[in-house]
Symmetry: C2
Amino acid sequence: MNGWLHGTLDALILKAVDRGPRHGYGIARWIEETSDDAIRIEEGSLYPALYRLEKKGWLTAEWGTSELGRRAKFYRLTAAGRRRVHRDAAEWSRFAEGVSRILLKAEEA
Amino acid sequence: MNGWLHGTLDALILKAVDRGPRHGYGIARWIEETSDDAIRIEEGSLYPALYRLEKKGWLTAEWGTSELGRRAKFYRLTAAGRRRVHRDAAEWSRFAEGVSRILLKAEEA
DNA sequence: CGGGATACCCAGAGCGTCTAGGCATGGAGG
DNA sequence: CCTCCATGCCTAGACGCTCTGGGTATCCCG
């Protein structure tokens, strides 16, 4: 319904595994929590995105066991993925600043 | 190529005419300048968006003459459009903060 | 006369997100 | 016991937006 997320999800996912492997479900929960619930990750967006990122070579996947003892697929960054995270953060910063200058400032005509 | 813009363009356009009517071409230039060229508006995105916003009732259009004496279509906000701008700004603020907390901070696992 | 800026428009491709399902396990509460 | 919810993964198809790559027209400048 929002649409804001469009084009941003990939970057968020990559960042979620920047500090170590996580499984898909955990990635979604982490993003929601870290964003203070400002961002909600639908599973129908999450899993296709993970598959996409793996195919692009930013992530690798491996089956393992979750903290609760369940079967789960863990993702970790590749070297290319790590470069991508940095690039995304820089681009986002610039873009978000631009949008905020427009939407949040009440300057002249 | 970026993708960041996805879902944000409508809000930017509405904000561009928040302080008074502008024509399409002028809207694009204003957004680019105001964002310090962080955002580039393609005409193939712009005009469909304007049409969409008009159909949704956020904008009304009217033919007129540009500052340079050319034929141009000027857009202005409707009451609903004005409400929408406020709502978009609030939503963007919350969303962008969430994303920035994730992408730009280097906190713990 | 050629190129660039101004100003509008369209068709179709492309792609990412969401809806709405499905499957399986385990723990908690009625 | 049985139902519900959380955990955990997945898919097909709809949907919607942006972009590519065209097109038109006027005007100014070199």
